[in-house]
Point group: none
Chain length 421, copies 2
Amino acid sequence: MFEKNSSVQKAEIIIIGNEVTSGLIQETNSRYLGDRLHSAGIGVSRITKVGDDKDEIALAVQEALCRVGIVITTGGLGATHDDITKTVLVNLFETELVRDEKVLRHLQAFFKSRGKEVPQALTGQCDVPASADIFYNKKGTAPGLLFHRNDKRLYALPGIPLEMEHLFEKYILPAMASSIKTKIRHRILKTTGLTEASLWEMAGPVDRLEEEVTVASLPSHLGVNIRLSTFDEDMNAIENRLDKAEASIREKIDSYVFGRDGDTLEGVVGENLLKKSLTLGVAESCTGGLISHRITQVEGSSAYFLEGAVTYSNPAKENRLGVEPGLIERHGAVSREVALAMARGIRNASGADIGLSVTGIAGPGGGSEEKPVGLTYIAIDDETGSRCKKFIFLQDRIRNKERSAQAALNLVRLWLMGIPL
Amino acid sequence: MFEKNSSVQKAEIIIIGNEVTSGLIQETNSRYLGDRLHSAGIGVSRITKVGDDKDEIALAVQEALCRVGIVITTGGLGATHDDITKTVLVNLFETELVRDEKVLRHLQAFFKSRGKEVPQALTGQCDVPASADIFYNKKGTAPGLLFHRNDKRLYALPGIPLEMEHLFEKYILPAMASSIKTKIRHRILKTTGLTEASLWEMAGPVDRLEEEVTVASLPSHLGVNIRLSTFDEDMNAIENRLDKAEASIREKIDSYVFGRDGDTLEGVVGENLLKKSLTLGVAESCTGGLISHRITQVEGSSAYFLEGAVTYSNPAKENRLGVEPGLIERHGAVSREVALAMARGIRNASGADIGLSVTGIAGPGGGSEEKPVGLTYIAIDDETGSRCKKFIFLQDRIRNKERSAQAALNLVRLWLMGIPL
């Protein structure tokens, strides 16, 4: 919907650097800028990444300026030999370099605060294009540049994320946002436990929602995020439309939606434990500590997380969790019976209100015909009773661990909410 | 160096999806493909990202096919309403969709192994462009497609990284690599324990190395990766140059280099434990399970990893590890004394040869003037003795956990190699 609205202002982003096209680094500026522009109500119609090659840079910039009114480049403004963006733009906009004393004073202050002189190699940073507006950079040495051509604007920013973000947030976004009346807002519904296909089968056709909001769904092996977007000049209208769409989706798949926007599953589980003043102990085999790690990513988790036991070996399951050796012999370490005994065992050992356990075969070794790689039992135990669920995850070792941990945390969430497992 | 070699074959990558241009997700396929193509000796001259808009997609594909001989697209091959890449390409290459029974059989097998029927919504995946070569996808439901126009090739791959990587590695890369004479090879030296600045101070000037190889250094909060690159038609010449550069760097900073290329610190620690037939038990407080999680990411880690104890609460430290309550009272849970007692405790409890422990204040709460956020003690204990190191990490909770886990694993590595801590 937003994308279809032709009155929305359009921008393009150009990322410059061999380290980007050759995959040496995971570039993040384009995602940052895409997100910030989109939220400000400016559509990003294209992102282009080119190497440190003057013809490629010039071509990409010219093409972008033909298509849209706002172009933002990042990278190639440093002082080393492969930083050529400034030279390319000076030629393209038919201007020349002039010494800017204010940049020089900025550089001197920047280095003085670090107890140093301005290195000779950096004095070139004081030469700026005569026709460009200059954005002074407090976080680094390369100033940002703004070129005008008719009613089109090209912003050139340094590639270091900290510097790029500083200049974008301080100078560029405020100027853009003030000229835009239409606000765009997103809401993300986070789900787990359904594939994308079955989610939309249960939730019903998207078209019905898309009269009022744009819907994007984002699947991963841990769940599906649903993004609802809409725009308006009136913030109340935006909120109402998002609320209505959310309610309409939740009506069908509420128990699968664990949170919104920045929520994490471990955070939601933590909140629910806090709300009910309950504590948790975790016994992990195949997940190897990942569940405890995720729980303790949350600030303040020490209030409800007492202890984790990564009982990788059978003796550890017996000694730490009191699992009967006979049980492992009879049913195998990966079994419903052992999962339940582990959950009870960690609850007793830790003194927590709730015991959670996982035992499974992460792979790639250790599988058999009867018990294939990916077979996983997750159990929960508290004073009201216990429950065990069986899963078969068909991915690689690392993703099997991740899916097991996700399913285990979700089981605690459902248990706390009283939703039948 | 490689970029200046004009005889190198060029490719472009096109990433398709509103979730990418709007910054909803951090897209990683273009980095993966850029890196893999670059390593195979194919230069990536441009990466373009466009939204789910048929005109934008068609334009981007046509432009790319004008400029280079190889174009790879990812995304938009799923079965939901906004997946339009296949339709766009069918029009562009003037072909039509035909039902492919082999895709249908693939889908049926894919879902059968998960105990399910093929959802109605996915049957469209069996309709493929008549003129395209089909790459059957074992990891998902969308097949990959190869279109030919004169001597140019367009590969369309699904956007889910697991599926994209599977099809690229299995079908596309082998075919490309066999046709290329000039080989480019990289070697990455992975270091931890030094900042980028101190690393190059110790290792000496890069210029000296750059006569024979290109050097790039990539810092993160966990260490610095050094990438050495060179190209030649003769693989021996390549290997010799890389060996020489590596030796020259290692001469100065050998104990900080923990591995090469795909090595992980947890993998290197595991190899060293296996080689010495030693077992490990881990007691974690502030890292919350992350060390055990990392160790168990390695296939076969059950051979040397016996047990992890995530002793978040003080009672857990006492009951699980036998840490004296008086010790915690006198010195506090975050202290050299408690770290050493935890390492000894997990060694005794698990029966492992080596006990490793971490106790610290991850933050943001829990700090004091005497014991600030980030204060961390890491201890190791075996039959030959014990040692404890103190660190102060000055980042946020999540990075403090990551740095603590990295430092702890590195301590085990140095201990096993007999390098003084």
